[in-house]
């Protein structure tokens, strides 16, 4: 068996496990690959991250991916990358820092957790501010961590559109002259029902789901840094 075949088999086995929401099988595939000689770097960059990108493509092209698959993808990616990074020959480059939380008045946390898992897997440092986060806290914490992106999750119409969500964060960024330095990304159910809503709430970008949000935020982080 050659390394190349092992990688292909690993990718296939890992992706199948993700789509079946079978975490144990996914971890088994990764550990078998590691035991057979695959490098931790290849596991992360050739198996785990491409699986997230494949899910983003599946969502955008066929709408055939769901919340459970995204949750499992994010959790497994996070745990595999966390396990692999100490085994890397060189410490990986940190791609940026993001603060993330649920809007003030919003106590939902699942979407945020999916995004966090995906971002960590992409070597982006994340500070989780929790739920029911005030606009002032979002901005203060972004400054404290030198974050280039604020991620705001909202699952209800009033927390997405209200003055203490994205609109409140935008107001403070403007007042403090931080708009070039810090970008706002929003997500959650109301945005799925109205794909122009992110403009109404003056965010810089939105994502339809947690896995896609990981990609959107990663690109935005890169854009702010360069």
């Amino acid at each position: 068996m050659t390394d190349e075949i092992t990688i292909e088999e690993t990718i296939k086995g890992y992706n199948e496990a993700i789509f079946d929401t079978d975490r144990d099988r996914a971890l088994e595939v990764v550990h078998e690959a590691l035991a057979s000689g695959m490098t931790p770097e290849d596991i992360v960059f050739k198996v785990v991250l491409p699986a997230m990108d494949q899910m983003i493509r599946a969502i955008s092209e066929t709408l055939d991916a769901n919340l459970a698959q995204q949750y499992i993808t994010a959790q497994i990616a996070d745990s595999v990358v966390t396990e692999m990074i100490p085994k890397f020959k060189q410490a990986p480059h940190v791609a940026g820092h993001v603060v993330i939380g649920s809007a003030e008045g919003d106590l939902h946390s699942l979407g945020k957790r999916i995004v966090i898992g995906c971002l960590r897997a992409r070597m982006i440092e994340v500070t989780d501010l929790g739920v029911n986060v005030s606009p002032e806290t979002f901005v203060d914490e972004a400054l404290a961590h030198d974050a280039s992106v604020i991620g705001i999750s909202a699952m209800m119409a009033h927390t997405a559109r209200g003055p203490n969500g994205s609109l409140g964060v935008r107001r403070i960024l403007k007042e403090r002259g931080l708009e070039d330095r810090i970008k706002i990304v929003v997500g959650g159910a109301p945005y799925r029902f109205d794909d122009e809503l992110y403009k109404t709430v003056q965010a810089d970008a939105w994502a339809e789901d947690g896995v896609t949000a990981g990609g959107v935020i990663a690109r935005l982080t890169e854009g702010v840094r360069t």
Binding site: F19, Y71, L110, D194
Partner: protein, 347 residues
């Protein structure tokens, strides 16, 4: 005078009334209608009943609700902290289940009807039944066995237990939730609810893969419906899409009404249902906040045009956000009454 119940029964039987039934789900708006804060409004069943009756009278749609807010079910199981907002629905602010030990200790009341936490809902239902019973469908909201843990421990922790946690703990919780579901359904029916919205986020392929739905979610749905019967039950997935499972659910449970997601294709849903049940076409009410009157009329016309031919169709909304202007609610309803009239060409 033709009533909302007449319209609903005609639609269920594939017959024509003056127009299709129109369900408009205004919940939080009741507080404004009565000039109260949400906390004051939701503290009494008589307030909620009065709000529901006034709004139905004002707008002329066909249903009333006994639902205060979704978190009420968690209160029946011990939640004591609700976060109120002036511009949106109340939310569960303290989960009944914080760790797995709480699952073992979770007790399901023997008689939900006698539970103090149900007393205001019972009072609301008593008033609604006295005022409009038999004339306008009285709706109740009941979370399915598989969805209830999300209210008790949060969706994030429930997903974690469901997919990554110990199967024994998961099954113990689901068993208790099923017991609660059966008792709650009995309580609502005894109190006079006619339309029972069976809400199951896990009954959607937006939430879980088809394989998981078939293997895990569907068996609980079948068990739920077998235990309580399908009379008056409406299948709903919290706004998520479920066209792909309609045929299976219909065959396995005999549920007679499907409250389609605004994100699903209504023509496709109608084709799948194929006259075997009532299809409920649902407008995207998040968009209603910003749509112009012309946009609202166009969308109502489109939805009704897709769903009404062949009958067995109801026009409805999700839970209407408070930010929707009153004028837009009126525009939507007037368009639904106009385009949903059986006196028009399609009659």
């Amino acid at each position: 005078m033709i009533t909302g119940m007449d319209r609903l029964v005609a639609a269920i039987n594939g017959e024509k009334s003056d127009r299709i039934p129109v369900f408009c789900n205004l919940l939080d708006q009741g507080a404004r209608e009565l000039g109260m804060s949400p906390k004051e409004y939701f503290s009494k069943g008589r307030h909620v009943a009065e709000g529901q009756l006034r709004m139905r009278e004002k707008y002329g749609y066909d249903n009333v609700w006994s639902l205060f807010y979704v978190g009420k079910e968690a209160e029946l199981l011990g939640c004591r902290k609700i976060l109120y907002a002036e511009d949106g629905p109340p939310n569960v602010a303290d989960f009944v289940i914080k760790d797995y030990d709480d699952i073992a200790n979770l007790e399901i009341p023997d008689d939900i009807s006698a539970s103090p936490a149900f007393s205001e809902e019972r009072e609301c239902l008593r008033i609604l039944r006295a005022e409009v019973g038999g004339r306008y469908p009285i709706c109740a909201y009941i979370t399915a066995t598989m969805g209830l843990p999300a209210l008790l421990m949060g969706m994030e922790k429930w997903m974690e237990l469901l997919f990554l946690g110990p199967a024994g703990v998961r099954d113990e919780l689901l068993g208790k939730c099923h017991e609660f579901f059966v008792k709650e359904m009995r309580a609502y029916r005894d109190a006079g609810a006619d339309v029972l919205l069976y809400s199951d986020p896990f009954g959607s392929t937006d939430t879980v893969p088809m394989s998981f739905f078939t293997k895990h979610a569907l068996p609980w749905t079948v068990k739920d419906i077998e235990a309580v019967g399908s009379q008056g039950i409406v299948y709903y997935s919290a706004g998520s899409r479920f066209n792909r499972v309609i045929d299976t659910v219909l065959q396995k449970t005999g549920i007679g009404a499907f409250y389609i997601s605004p994100l699903d294709d209504i023509t496709e849903a109608k084709t799948i249902v194929d006259g075997r049940a009532l299809t409920c076409g649902v407008i995207n009410d998040i968009k209603l906040i910003d749509w112009s009157a012309d946009e609202i009329r166009d969308e109502v016309r489109r939805l009704i045009g897709a769903g009404m031919p062949g009958g067995r169709f109801l026009f409805g909304t999700l839970v209407m956000p408070l930010a929707i202007p009153e004028a837009s609610i009126r525009t939507m309803l007037e368009a639904a009454y106009e385009f949903g009239s059986w006196g028009r060409d399609e009659g």
